[in-house]
């Protein structure tokens, strides 16, 4: 059965490029693209929500 992937939305106009979500994602799903965060490897996401919880800027939303 195919695994259902989450949706990760990054609101670029809110992102301040602090790196917190990228650094503390346990499975390295995210990366910095210039000044903003972006999704590099969605398949690896374990939906732990840590990125969404820790983003100080309300800029990342994970929907399982």
């Amino acid at each position: 059965m195919e695994k259902k992937l989450p949706t990760i939305e990054i609101i670029e106009k809110y992102c301040k490029g602090c790196h917190i979500c990228v650094e503390f994602c346990p499975t390295k799903v995210l990366e910095m693209k210039g000044f903003v965060a972006s999704v590099k490897n969605l398949e690896a996401c374990i939906k732990c929500m840590q990125c969404e919880l820790r983003c100080p800027d309300f800029a990342i939303k994970v929907s399982a």
């Binding site: 809110y14 602090c18 790196h19 919880l53 983003c55 100080p56 800027d57 309300f58």
Partner: protein
Amino acid sequence: MAFDYDKYIRPGKLPHIWCPGCGHGIVMKGMIRAIDTLGLDKNNTAIVSGIGCASRLPGYMDFCTLHTAHGRAAAFATGVKMAKPEMNVILVGGDGDGTAIGGNHFIHACRRNIDMTYIIMNNNIYGMTGGQFSPCTPTGAKASTTPYGNPDPAFDVAKLAIGAGATFVARGTAYHATQIDKLIVEAIQHKGFSVVEILDDCPTTYGRRNKFKSVIEMMNRLKEIAVPIKAAEKMSAEQLEGKVITGVLYKEERPHYTGEYAKVIARAQK
């Protein structure tokens, strides 16, 4: 589903003014989730602050809010609670606001055990005004006003609150995001003055001066120094050296102020 923060934020207010990586945003999110868990009514909840970066928080919240004078959140909040004892009152602010200029108001709110919750974002510095040392700046740390290292010992906010009479005292960190809402939920549910200290980071005025190369280093420090209270009970004094205990640190039931004051009113009206 992703959590809907927008429901609680004044339309058009984001992005907020806080610097990249400033933990105040993480605390605000924790507070919103706590309010959501408890189902607090926006029209029956006051969020009150003094002045500082942390104290900008109420401006974003779609609740009854007061942004008052530096250090005076507790004074104004006391007024709100006395006039409307049924209202949920939450105070927010920084370590400078709460323990320096507002230290007096803070200790007396603790002593009176007024049924309110105080969330103090302790980033060890006066962020807004450019990094002067606060009563929570660690000994030896550099601030714009202590370029050769701070000679003062720092306040332990939790001990200060317990000593002054607060009946619920907890501590968390901006790194431990999931714990923030749990502590705030318990604090708001507690009947009496509850204090939640969140160890926070100010990369802009503290981190840079104190050899933190990045926000990530500051977050990692919070991760490393925090020891949950249950784990701390099994550790020796040496093992706890340089660590900070987190979780619910103190809890006691004691008559709260508006309840006692209602009795005074009843006596006077007899």
